[in-house]
């Protein structure tokens, strides 16, 4: 391990595009070093070109690969000498009817969202304990309410995977306390290239009309919550789920 950087270091999975990339930008602007993990080589190269190689190091791989988590943590230590935060962001949506969903569909959602998050958390645990760091897991508002956006597309396997993240978050929060805090965000709609490409303008307008805030968030708006949960300001927050969703899911009391 090299001499530790004076800056905190965060490892982010699914970092090349969309919300993950927004988290990279936000945290670098806030003074963090970033270890960016993604299977998209081109996206990682463009991230480095955008933010500069001084503060970001990239690791190419699929989070379902068994040894990727350990390798990525080693890269963090080799390059920056410390690890203070982990953002388990990698994932993908699957809109498929239950009747057409296979066992493999379900298990792949579990692998990408839950098993990968667990593997990265365990690999990072000793260094996060040392740094009294934090983990942020990225879930979805659909984990809390099912596919609630019009036209309520079938997405049982995706809902299961993203809800699994919440159970994982709560148990890890207990297991890693008091040194490491573990929380989740469950975002609503985001204006990422991927999500916008799924819908024609009319469909998108109708979906957004069902959101009390009357819009979907820019990815960077969710980064603010990730930044907060990683920060000392959230030192009393662990085992919790923040769902910034423009009022699309209102429940509890």
């Amino acid at each position: 391990m090299k001499v530790a950087s004076t800056r905190p270091t965060v490892l982010i999975t699914g970092a090349a595009a969309g919300m993950g990339r927004a988290h990279c930008r936000c945290l670098i602007a806030e003074g963090w070093n970033v270890v960016a993990v993604d299977r998209d080589r081109t996206g990682l190269a463009s991230l480095t070109a955008e933010v500069g190689a001084e503060r970001v190091v990239t690791v190419e791989g699929d989070v379902r690969q068994p040894d990727l988590a350990t390798a990525a943590v080693e890269v963090a230590l080799d390059r920056f000498g410390r690890l203070d935060g982990l953002v388990n962001n990698a994932g993908y949506g699957l809109q498929r009817s239950l009747l057409d969903s296979s066992a493999d569909d379900l298990l792949d959602q579990l692998a990408v969202h839950v098993e990968a998050a667990l593997a990265f958390s365990l690999a990072a645990e000793p260094y996060l304990r040392q740094a009294r760091g934090a983990i942020v897991n990225v879930s979805s508002e659909w984990a809390l309410a099912g596919p609630c956006t019009w036209p309520q597309p079938p997405a049982v396997a995706y809902c299961a995977g993203k809800a699994g993240v919440l159970g994982l978050t709560r148990a890890l929060a207990r297991q890693l306390a008091p040194e490491v805090r573990v929380n989740a965000i469950a975002p609503g709609g985001a204006r990422t290239e991927t999500t916008l490409s799924h819908y024609d303008p009319e469909t998108l307008a109708r979906k957004i009309a069902g959101v009390p805030a009357q819009r979907w968030a820019e990815p960077a708006e969710y980064s603010l919550f990730v930044r907060y949960l990683l920060s000392p300001a959230a030192r009393l927050v662990t085992g919790q789920v923040l769902s910034p969703n423009g009022g699309e899911v209102i429940a509890g009391g």
């Binding site: 066992a103 995706y158 148990a171």
Partner: protein, 202 residues
């Protein structure tokens, strides 16, 4: 008394027996590999999630499918991470495959119930178990939206650590109420039957 059948999924022989005694109509049990023995009055079908599931010959219609997803609480506790992950996958497949097969075969309304422990909600337990049972909750919510016109769903939270017989008696009585079509508007909810051992907002 219900004229339609009830399908129990998973659990031990003892639990299946206790629950079956509180349910009316024809009762079937998808018996996991670790459960031994038959239960009087209960048609039992062997079920190993890893091998898939075919329910040809299932007497339909059913008005209740109840999946015992809280079994990791009292059941096997693997030591290695790999084995715990395998159990997590099995819990989720057990919650998924029978429900998919019944919904493929039947159009009549029915109650789908998943029984979980407080672990996914309070984090007391292993991360894999909490994730598995939380994923079951997500499954329930997804099914609720997709099949709203022909199935009503519920997740029942039970804590059988201290008095499993009493818990299962109350659970069976609750399931009996919820399989009444008059309860169909109650769907997508989490019902807490933990006698106050777990109390939390929403």
């Amino acid at each position: 008394m219900s004229a339609a059948g009830a399908l129990l999924v998973g659990g031990s022989t003892e639990r299946a027996s206790r629950l079956a005694s509180g349910l009316s109509g024809e009762r079937l049990w998808l018996r996991p590999a670790h459960a031994r023995g038959e239960v009087e009055g209960l048609i039992s079908l062997p079920f190993q999630p890893a091998e898939g599931l075919r329910l040809d010959g299932l007497p339909l219609p059913l008005d209740l499918v109840a999946v015992l997803s809280d079994q990791t609480a009292a059941g096997v506790r693997p030591r290695t991470l790999g084995a715990r992950l395998e159990l997590m996958r099995e819990v989720l497949l057990e919650a998924f495959l029978p429900v998919r097969e019944v919904l493929r075969r039947q159009r009549d309304w029915l109650r789908l119930a998943w029984i979980i422990s407080p672990t996914p909600l309070n984090g007391c337990g292993s991360p894999e178990r909490a994730a598995a049972e939380a994923a079951v909750l997500g499954l329930m919510r997804g099914v609720t939206r997709e099949f709203a016109t022909r199935a009503s769903t519920v997740a029942l939270v039970v804590d059988g650590a201290h008095d499993p017989e009493a818990v299962d008696r109350d659970l069976a009585a609750t399931l009996q109420v919820l399989r009444d079509p008059g309860s169909s508007f109650y769907t997508g909810q989490v019902l807490n039957l933990t006698s106050g051992t777990w109390i939390a907002g929403a």
